[in-house]
Symmetry: C2
Subunit: 317 residues, 2 copies
DNA sequence: CTGTTAGCGCTTTCAG
DNA sequence: CTGAAAGCGCTAACAG
């Protein structure tokens, strides 16, 4: 009987005993879809990531998952694997619909959002609809989505970008290359804005040759660095969109015969586990991936009070 | 009407048109649980991983997912996140039951299995039951589970371990430390057996001081290396359970004032993306993570013929 | 505390 | 080709 299995109803100890034994003998397993249909809610929570092979998302997903104990469903946005075509808008919506179809109890969207206007509007509409249907929506490491009812735990990408560049400027650098992420992504834009703020603050004029866009992976960092060096061989520092890109940059610099950090300094973003082993070690901005993920997971489960106003910036320790 | 949405039934173009418009206007979304209940099958496929924050699993999961397009559900076995207590047996079974409850269309179990006898039997029983219920079960990077009906795509951990150690022996090493993974794991045992085979082949007597067990993470590699050096400071090579462990080993060696590879050689396993950036670069065994994952995904979807006999060893390229 | 009953929203027959 | 009807296995509400 459902009453004993769900434990949300008074049952005599003796009856419970009897039911439990029967369950055991027939190794009966509750039918999830039937429960979900009858109760009009499933206990699934969806986690949307760009690419689960990327530790940036893996770490957040792991933290979220550890908080929602045994009912996770991580769904990749882009396929990852072979063709890494960056976050594909259609797929993001498709996955959201899938979760909506499953009547998910909660959905956590991780990482930066795409800024393509129509797509952003479509996602916002979808989030609102999910919220109305009773699904808790949490944005983790992603900017707020106004008027959707979604809770947001954001990172201070702009501030991080600014501090990183200020650090390099403090070291005496005046010609800094910048390898940005894909265009039309909030993460890309915010980090770049922070970088520019730092330059402006210190009266360094921007040179358009010093910025190049790429993907968030190592190969892209390698190629972009080659391009940067071609455009201006006198650069003394390279700021990368994230740590993977920074690793690619290091490889390209080494191949070009430059020593790090003697000839050129390299800076990254995210502070992924492998960064500490880069030799010589990388300057990078630590993002509280685990902390944010854990908190997002708890909010998704309704076990933690959402931040006042529904929005909070999670700071590194 | 379900007939047009599922497209598995002849419908007049005009009727379809009418339905589609209505769907659009009401932004109607199919009720997943209801479909699953009525049809007695869901289209979910579960992916079990030890720790999604570990790129070893992330890469496989990504590849699997890219093949099952839009119906993945990655479920972590151990929580990952903070306390990395290795794969917990109970949780593995719990997740399997969860998938069984959801009437998953398929389940992919990734990575090594635990060798604890009662637990292994319990898992085998569960897999058999899943298979009987019509769920396709695929083991990816995991040894076969006899008589369960599960398909297995295994890695040649033993052969890889052997070749790795032979490579080091070929370089002239005679005193090799070995940092093994957690005990009672197939992966750990197979790699270690390969290592020992290589030693035996070349007439090198094993010294019990040279082997130490740890976890599959960087910190463990760091600590184990310190222990190894304490036991025998004259080691000239360290073979690690995987690349993360190898990174920790490198750090410990450097701190102890040893140069790599001049004083001590280090070897890893898995060939994860960051390994290439370890300087000087790490000798490591490439595991076909993506290839195996992709194939496992296709088999799970019924889009690829399972290997003859249900078992295949996936080889690196 | 416990037995009974009416749906949940779909898929799948079975007749038109 | 299309309408109608019978469940799928469970939960929740209602009487005992």
């Amino acid at each position: 009987m459902s009453r004993v299995l769900n434990g949300n109803y008074p049952v005599a100890a003796t009856t419970r005993e009897r039911v439990l034994r029967a369950v055991d003998e027939l190794d009966y397993v509750l039918n999830g879809p039937a429960s979900a249909l009858a109760a009009a809610t499933s206990d699934l929570v969806g986690i949307l990531v760009n690419d689960i092979a990327d530790p940036f998302f893996g770490i957040m997903a792991s933290a979220i998952q550890s908080e929602i104990g045994g009912r996770a469903a991580v769904r990749g946005r882009t396929a990852g694997g072979g063709v890494q075509h960056g976050g594909s808008p259609e797929r993001e919506l498709t996955y959201l619909t899938l979760l909506q179809r499953q009547r998910a109890a909660a959905v956590v969207l991780t990482g930066g959002a795409m800024e393509n206007a129509p797509h952003a509007a479509a996602v916002a509409a979808k989030l609102r609809k999910l919220g109305e249907a009773g699904t808790r929506v949490v944005l983790c490491g992603r900017p707020p989505a106004p008027d959707t009812g979604a809770f947001a735990l954001t990172f201070d990408n702009r501030g991080g970008g600014r501090e990183l560049t200020e650090h390099l400027i403090g070291l005496g650098h005046r010609r800094l290359g910048y390898i940005a992420g894909p265009e039309e992504r909030t993460t890309t834009r915010h980090r770049l804005e922070g970088h520019r703020e730092a330059l402006a603050t210190h009266g360094i004029a921007e040179d358009p040759r010093w910025t190049v866009h790429g993907r968030y992976d190592r190969r892209s960092g390698y190629e972009a660095t080659l391009e940067l060096l071609r455009r201006d061989p006198s650069l003394t520092a390279v700021v990368a969109a994230n740590d993977s890109v920074a690793m690619g940059a290091c490889a390209a610099l080494r191949e070009s015969g430059r020593r790090i950090p003697d000839d050129v300094s390299v800076a990254g973003f995210d502070d992924l586990p492998f960064s500490v082993d880069a030799v010589p070690s990388l300057t990078t901005v630590r993002l509280p991936l685990s902390e944010a993920g854990a908190r997002a997971g708890r909010i998704a489960m309704g076990r933690e009070e959402p931040p006042p106003g529904g929005i909070a910036t999670v700071r590194g320790s």
